[in-house]
Amino acid sequence: MEKTVNQKAWFLVLPVLVLVAFSAVIPLMTVVNYSVQDTFGNNQFFWAGLEWFKEMLRDDRMWDALGRQLMFSGIILLIQIPLGVFIALNMPKSGFWVSFCLVVMSLPLLIPWNVVGTIWQIFGRVDIGLLGHTLAAIGVDYNYTSDPFAAWVTIIVMDVWHWTSLVALLAYAGLKSIPDAYYQAAKIDQASRWAVFRYIELPKMMGVLMIAILLRFMDSFMIYTEPFVVTGGGPGSTTTMLSIDLVKMALGQFDLGPAAAFSIMYFLTILLISWVFYTVMTNLEKREG
């Protein structure tokens, strides 16, 4: 619906524009600036063109990190989305237990990233951690500092623990918006539990699930703190995600040029994948409709 036109409204947006300029656009331009120049640290810059980009694209290290990153995001989406939906479906619909469940599920979401990392780092230690010790006691060979598989399992379980609630809460909100009449009609039609899910719950949840997938993808693709705290990217570089690699490159080795080029490509990759996701999902929604 069109509203009365009032040009003064633009002034109200101005402060936000200024803030965004300082917080996002200017730093981004600095990064762009670094990515096309070379420096020897004494504030002297040389034009490098697209050289850093080419070098990064030729670098196996980045491709490996990207591969790990995609695998990580893929695995956690495959676990968290169905698990979140499953939890939402099994949550009580009314009564005291609703608020109880909601509070319990919100708890992991409230814990800061680095604390989550620290909790799991300690939790999984074979010497003093409850999990690590217990596993060792029952004879499982578990050590995330030396075994890449154990390291992967640890960070995935940690992420699932941390974020599945978000998916579950979103899915729950979607489920709650379905009028009772639909369930009554399904009973009358003798629909199976699966049919109720497939034809009533899933279509009605589609909208929020799309948001959940996008959020979880973007977040997991940028994950840094938790694996950094738990494994530091190791053993070797088996859990070195893109962001960890980037920090290593920029701060550890002070290769600012390649790191800047890396950042920009990283950013564009996320943008691209999110866009593809979004387009595919909206089309899916349209086709369903």
Binding site: M1, E2, K3, T4, V5, N6
Partner: protein, 362 residues
């Protein structure tokens, strides 16, 4: 006090919601916007209120151009189909809220609130919260708030649509009484012809974004200017029959004919559309010179004192509303009669060429 729309139209995204419209509403009048869903009732109201800016044309309030003026700066009150009240305030505070915004004195507010509450039969409920009230009471609270604002223009957008039938009937009787007293310009949107008739005042018939006719409600009902208005203002829908006139004879589609009588006598030869209301269909001829039609009875519905007969007249569906309870055999042939005085004649383009003569006499 007048509200005048001059050549007002509204186009959104290449789609015309309101075609150019001229309309003048006067002080102390009840104006009904009657039309089916999506006919433009709400769009027109939003233009009147100033919530939307017209694409073309101007809006005048007491002779002054208020076209671009914000709704906050105009004297407008609005009531919607949904019961909209402030949930955390008591009924008293809800009703008082518009006056408090205007900075009226405490005594003045109290007097107005109590008067409005009295009119709306809310006096015993003033300390309750809206959600503790029934739907009808909630809507009466919203109406009271619109009343105390003492706005020059009060817009009511299907305010009774979500209420129980019987409650609706009672409020329909109350609303015109209250509004006569208030002296503002009232605009009331509805989809139901019966509601328009009960409210009285003037009616603007709307169809697909056009005001097809505006005038005193009984006049629009009895003397519609075209077939569209007649269709909008008839529930059950008006029945239609294609006819052609040759000389002094009216020919029907099935080869039947009748002498041209009354208003039809003076018509030029040609094709016409005859329209008649369901309540003028008779199953016992009692008027002299009634036209007879052979139909098939499809369904009957009883209302207790009357019978709706759904008829098939050579593929056309007609509805008749006849007095008394009739036990008729479904699927059987049924002869129905029509007094020519009750027949409207429309041209092929839908314009009225001869009104039903009974309507002119009334």
């Amino acid at each position: 006090m007048t509200l005048e729309l001059r050549n007002v139209s509204k186009v959104i995204g290449g789609q015309t919601h309101i075609y150019p419209t001229d309309l003048t509403l006067n002080k102390g009048t009840m104006n009904v916007l009657l039309g089916p869903t999506l006919s433009g009732k709400t769009s027109l109201m939003r233009l009147m209120a100033g919530l939307d800016k017209p694409t073309t044309g101007q809006i005048f309030w007491q002779g002054q151009d208020v076209t671009g003026m914000r709704v906050q700066d105009r004297q407008v009150a609005m009531v919607y189909q949904q019961f909209i009240n402030y949930p955390t305030m008591t009924v008293y505070d809800n009703i008082a809220s518009p006056m408090r915004l205007l900075g009226k004195s405490r005594a003045e507010i109290d007097a107005s609130v109590r008067k409005a509450a009295d009119l709306m039969q809310l006096s015993p409920l003033l300390d309750r919260k809206p959600l503790e009230l029934s739907g009808g009471q909630q809507q009466r609270c919203a109406l009271a708030r619109a009343l105390v604002k003492d706005a020059g223009l009060v817009l009511l957008d299907e305010p009774l649509a979500n209420l129980d039938y019987k409650l609706r009937e009672e409020l329909r009787v109350e609303i015109p009484k209250i509004f006569e007293e208030a002296g503002s310009i009232f605009v009331y949107a509805t989809t139901e012809p019966e509601e328009a008739l009960l409210l009285g005042g003037s009616t603007a018939a709307l169809f697909e974004g056009r005001v097809t006719q505006f005038g005193p409600t009984p006049t629009v009902y009895r003397q519609p200017v075209d077939a569209t208005t007649a269709r909008v203002f008839s529930d059950p829908p008006m029945n239609f029959l294609r006819v052609s006139k040759t000389g002094s004879k009216i020919m029907f589609g099935d080869g039947q004919s009748a002498p041209a009588m009354g208003p039809m006598e003076s018509l030029a030869d040609g094709r016409y559309l005859a329209g008649f209301r369901p309540n003028h269909v008779e199953i016992n001829a009692h008027a002299n010179g009634a036209m007879a039609f052979e139909t098939k009875l499809v369904v009957t519905e009883l209302t207790g004192s009357e019978t709706f007969v759904h008829l098939d007249h050579h593929g056309e569906r007609w509805v008749g509303l006849v007095h008394g309870v009739h036990d008729l055999e479904l699927g059987a042939a049924l002869k129905v009669y029509l007094d020519p005085r009750h027949v409207y004649i429309f041209g092929e383009g839908g314009e009225l060429v001869a009104p039903a003569s009974y309507a002119l006499a009334a």
